[in-house]
């Protein structure tokens, strides 16, 4: 087993374990958010193993660094504590649901394994900012600009919503 494969399994195990920890810790909101951070960082590790270095670093900067900080900011502003949530219901149903999910995964792996992605040789400089920038500003320019317009619309909407409350 090469180092790449070993690292992949390490990060994959970390990502899965932290994702499970996030769901289990749903009542302790900050612990859940921190599990999400570990999950994001493990995913970034997987991206590095896959040679997508820029995506990995953006994953950490944007998702682990900025978005979850915003989550925690909101949690701390609302000062949510463990007793802010009602006790859980439908325990048996949840347990059955997770068993069904595991069964589905096992069936998928058993029957459809050949459709999993195969390794291919990468060209020089793959995953760097030059390649990504060229792709974004030539082939996918329209999609890129449309996304920025969408984000602008979201910002304007947020400002309008906030201002309406200030004005009244």
């Amino acid at each position: 087993m090469s180092v790449d494969v070993a690292l992949f399994y390490l990060f994959a195990a970390m990502a899965t374990a932290s994702a499970v920890a996030m769901v289990v810790n749903v009542r302790n909101t900050v612990a859940a958010a921190m599990s999400l951070v570990i999950c994001m960082v493990s995913l970034a590790g997987i991206y590095v193993v896959l040679e997508a270095h820029l995506i990995a670093v953006v994953q950490i900067m944007v998702y682990a660094g900025a978005i979850v900080v915003l989550f925690i900011f909101v949690v701390m502003l609302l000062n949510l504590r463990q007793d802010s949530f009602p006790p859980g219901r439908m325990r048996g149903l949840k347990f059955l649901g997770s068993l069904a999910g595991l069964w589905f995964l096992a069936r998928f792996l058993a029957t459809q394994a050949e459709y999993l992605p195969q390794t291919v040789a990468l060209e020089e400089g793959f995953g760097g900012y030059r390649h990504l920038g060229m792709a974004l500003f030539t082939d996918y320019l329209l999609a890129f600009e449309a996304t920025s317009l969408l984000l602008l619309a979201a910002i304007v909407g947020a400002v309008i919503l906030a201002k309406r409350r200030l004005d009244t």
Binding site: V37, M61, G65, V69, I72, F73, G128
Partner: protein
Amino acid sequence: MPWDVVAKSLFILVVAVAALAPVVTWVERKQSAVMQDRIGANRADLFGIRLLGLLHPAADVLKLIFKEDVVPIGANRVMHLVAPLIAAVAAIISFAVIPYGATYQFGDSTVNLVAADIDWGLLYIFAVGSLAAYGTILAGWASNSNWSLLGGIRASAQMISYEVTMGLSVVGVFMVFGTLKLTDMAFAQDATFRLLGFLEVFGVVDHLPRWLAWIQLPMWGVFLQPLGFIMFLTAIMAENKRPPFDIPEGESEIVAGYHTEYSGMRFGLFFMAEFIEVIVIAGLMTAIFLGGWSIPYLPQERIIGALEPLFGSGMANLLCMVAHVSTFLLKVVFMIWFQMVLRWTQPRFRYDQMMDLCWKILLPLSIANAFVTGTIILLVRSYGS
């Protein structure tokens, strides 16, 4: 086993963390004393030897190690323990991508003085810096204290805001040097440029005094991107939460903010992380804006070319390496001094002033800076020689 990486990491740990960080705490006290016309820290003595107060860092560390480690009632024990570790580790590992020397040839082997020479070096520092915010935020949350919580909330808002401007304010530098790799940036700065070079494109050079055309400046980021230098320094100092941006720990309002409930060496780790970050900031500013290891007007080939006939190739490279590393350390010490001067001359901002500075001044300015830089680069490329 890549022994060179181990050796370089050890060099960073010994020089930056073990040797420089305690000295910086001493500099902080002594410099504030000088600036405020006091005598300053000089009480710690060992058998009557005081060494200008240089024994104070040792006394501090001993005190912090032997002090009782208090965890407040109702605190989240795990997160209370992990928070200072995140802060300290993030500060230390940022140093990995900062080049403290050029590339040198010793016979067949090439020595490259940076622990991790990665293509996206600057982004790595931003990523690690954004994770460092969790140290502060978790400390505020896990302490089960209102003062700490307020400090944590302020810290999360402050760090997330200044991360944006920190990234945008160096976009101009990316454009000028055409790379995100810190080693390439340092190499690009080991050259000179004519001050009027880019003005020739606009045809105004003939109307200016002739002697101006003779001026050659080192190709440092601070000369190419003066606005970027000021904005990046502001943003990264705000990211480090030191005065005048120490709103998360504002003593006059919220006791000591996020580390109110910390004592002993856990407080010491926060304290250390802050000072290591001062050194990291100094190293980063040096690498991006002050030419890194380069000696102004003396490019590496010229140094080695002049020394090679005298001492031979290996010795010439070694001497050049010593000169470069010393230059780098000298610039780092200058940037540390500069940060200390700022810290002891500026009063703390109010929260709204700090947010206004970030979103209403630095953000539009950095976007304008990127736009103007891009326009000039485009004009020079299309009409220049």
